[in-house]
Symmetry: C3
Subunit: 348 residues, 3 copies
């Protein structure tokens, strides 16, 4: 494998499709037991500003299996609040600047993972919008941290991207399809009581693009993914002989698909207007659930979802409990891709 | 030792007395340094829905000493809420079904431990009863999790049982008594400001039964342990030449006892009626504390308690600080029995 | 190195300057890779009653790098409350006595670290004083725990001392100065919106004294450090040919200093009177910040701070971002001194 030691992983867009594929191949080699990365004594600081099960456990377990250790920190409950604005006069609520936090954690640990999504709570009436979407999608904390860090930084889900999920999806697509080039892949929006952030579908869509698939972004009008991400994904897909189209034609999208990946997210145009979105999307609920009838239109399609998933809301029990569901294998690949990422960035 | 790889430990009732004794003997061998289980790289997910000191630290330490690692998760604070009802339409508070959680944690970790006791908080006026006792004693979450898990599941205290405490008590009885068969053992109820669940005394009582002791369940009328557990324990004790009797005769019970194990629990008949129980048990407080006077009636008896214990409420300082108290040794055995359980279930 | 196995580290005052220097030299040897302590399978329980980043991560990382593991416990959130008063009738809020907690954790783990500072929250209007300062500075919980513990106990910051920070500062002073004897060192008070406890500046001041430096305690009248600590530090400094003076002469103190260490703390005389202190110290803010103008008076002085630091409140961006700031190196030394302490106390 090429030498990725010292690289960061903030978005898969910062890596070439070939580099990502090298990571995925290494993950599958570790999964198959053909390789055991030398992580003994390696320590990763894992900052979770938002809750987590799969991401935390997959990262900690990947380190632990090979002799390393993760130190999970829940800022705000275990600690104080952090500042990331340059020149701030810190006489208010923040007690430590990222200009100290980043180099200090770099000295204490070999790698730092960060989950910080301000958008994640915008789904509740109680959580008002903080900052504009245009500003938050630049992930100011994450990028400020990286700027001052002295070790590799891994994005464990930000406002814009979730590259660790993207890599796990790539590994799953390679595993299930062999050669995914030219295969039809649908990422479908689903109704959900909250307005979830689009970081995960962004990275999932890019995973399919980076494998040169025929990618369909299926969503109602008004719920399109970020146009910058769509444009970047299309360019990467086309360079590999694939394609990316956006549509709201549910029947057409499912027809012939080999992969259906479902995800709920809040509409960009509704950002900060939770009640308006809830009202607008109410009628979409029955039409956008993934169920057996829709899956029957596919070409023996496999079902993917990043999990956690709301059963009988996003997808029916019938699909999830069938042998067409690959969600458990997909979640397992979080472990092996995490191991490959730690090994690659640490040169281990 | 027989091959226990892949077994679950939800209740000691699922294991034969001989199998339990094999676990205990292995624990004492590990304690004596005659054996070091091969847990390197083994990862255990430890879900604590309720607070813990001994259980969490003993499990994490048992793994860590032999090269493994525990990942402690506090659902609700670190994560979201979980669903365990089949067919649920998950558009409410729960965000992940045990049908996903259990297989996913199974793929990420080698073993899963779960502490979930809805009954544990019923002791406060602020915590109303959720579900009926008859329903909760079936431990629906734990059993649903086990049903969908792909790796061994360990009960770290449920509504009904606390088998890890039971094993530690068995190890302590073997250590202190050599051959416990036919030796008089008293499990005494104690007054406590809360209505604690009976999971721990159930498993403690069964530990003595599974060693063929002369077991006395000492408690006021109205505070009897679950009749199903009493019946099961009696059958197991008698099969080994021992016995199990229930009584409220404090003087008679202590007389000649070699072991006095104290524990507070809420009366089954009072379940969900905290104020009524508080009123009813008020007068019992002075009579049911374990003190020097009562211990003087024993046959040089040893004092056991699972800890944490409320001093001068459940037991007097005089007893706890005397050389007749074995509570610290008992707590230490949590570590060695946990190591034996992990090793056995993982085939390590 | 002398054999420190089994020792406690509650305050650097319990150790001789020569012993502390041996710890520091070992820390620097570990940092240089000349030594790797044998911590495989060693487990440390780390009780944090107060939030932490550096202390927790440095301790966990020090153990993890060399094969051990830290188990971080947040009493109150992960657990119940603890009692430390002898003879208490525990029918109230506390559920476990330190007489059980300390020996039990000793049986489960090889070493125990404790952070418990009741004074830490006195800075907020919402947190009334609990107990008198004279009583709290004796650190009753920490000393009760040590009394009943069976393994080494490390103070991770109490009301009175923060010896782990003191050792990291000693290591930094040795690293930066070579031979610190007779070198001018200033510990300056700084304005801060809260009334922080003096544990850290106490141990930082003692670090300089224990290296035989010319130590200046610079603070406004009314904000002197604890007279007992001042007296002890002076005696130790003088025995090594150094000195300790207290002053409020800002210009004089900075002149010729080679080291300026800044820290905010609440005035002892104001203890429990937060509003009065806030009012009294308001005018001090501009004069007591560490800025480029003040640093220019030093002899090419280095800036130290324990972190976290409030930028442009305690110290200006200009100082922190200059090459005269050693705060990141100082924080890194938390790791290596923690490794040396664990190794020494565990005889590893």
């Amino acid at each position: 494998m090429a030498d990725f030691a010292g690289r960061d992983l903030l978005s898969t867009l910062d890596w070439s499709p070939g580099e990502l594929r090298a990571l995925v191949d290494r993950a599958l080699a570790i999964k198959a037991g053909r390789e055991a990365p030398a992580l003994a004594g390696k320590v990763g600081a894992l900052l979770f500003f938002n809750p987590s099960v799969r991401t935390r456990v997959s990262c900690e377990s990947a380190l632990a299996r090979f002799g390393g250790q993760g130190i999970t920190i829940h800022p705000g409950s275990d600690t104080w609040n952090f500042e990331s604005v340059d020149g701030a006069v810190m006489d208010g609520a923040t007690q430590e600047h990222v200009r100290e936090l980043a180099p200090v954690l770099s000295r204490l640990c070999h790698v730092v993972g960060i989950r910080k999504s301000e958008l994640i709570t915008v789904g509740s009436a109680a959580a008002p919008a903080t900052g504009s979407y245009a500003e938050l999608k630049r992930d100011p904390f994450l990028h400020a941290f990286r700027r001052f860090a002295e070790v590799p930084v891994i994005n464990l889900e930000s406002n814009a991207f979730h590259p660790m999920q993207g890599l796990a999806d790539m590994a799953t697509l390679v595993e299930k399809l062999g050669d995914p080039r030219g295969v039809k892949y649908v990422l479908t929006w689903a109704w959900h009581p909250k307005a979830l952030p689009a970081a995960t579908p962004h990275s999932q869509l890019l995973a399919a693009c980076d494998l040169g698939m025929e990618v369909v972004s299926l969503r109602p009008e008004g719920w399109g993914l970020d146009p910058e991400v769509i444009a970047a994904g299309r360019a990467r897909a086309e360079a590999l002989g694939g394609s990316l189209v956006e549509t709201d034609d549910v029947e057409g999208a499912y027809r012939g698909a080999r992969i259906v990946c479902a995800k709920a997210w809040g509409g960009l145009g509704f950002y900060g207007r939770f009640e308006a979105e809830t009202l607008a999307k109410g009628a979409l609920r029955p039409r956008w659930i993934v169920d057996e009838e829709k899956m029957a239109r596919t070409d023996d399609g496999l079902f993917l979802h990043c999990l956690p998933v709301r059963r009988n809301v996003v997808v029916s029990d019938g699909v999830l409990d069938s042998n067409r569901s690959a969600v458990i294998d997909e979640a397992e690949n979080r472990l092996w891709t995490a191991a490959a990422v730690f090994a690659a960035l640490l040169g281990a």
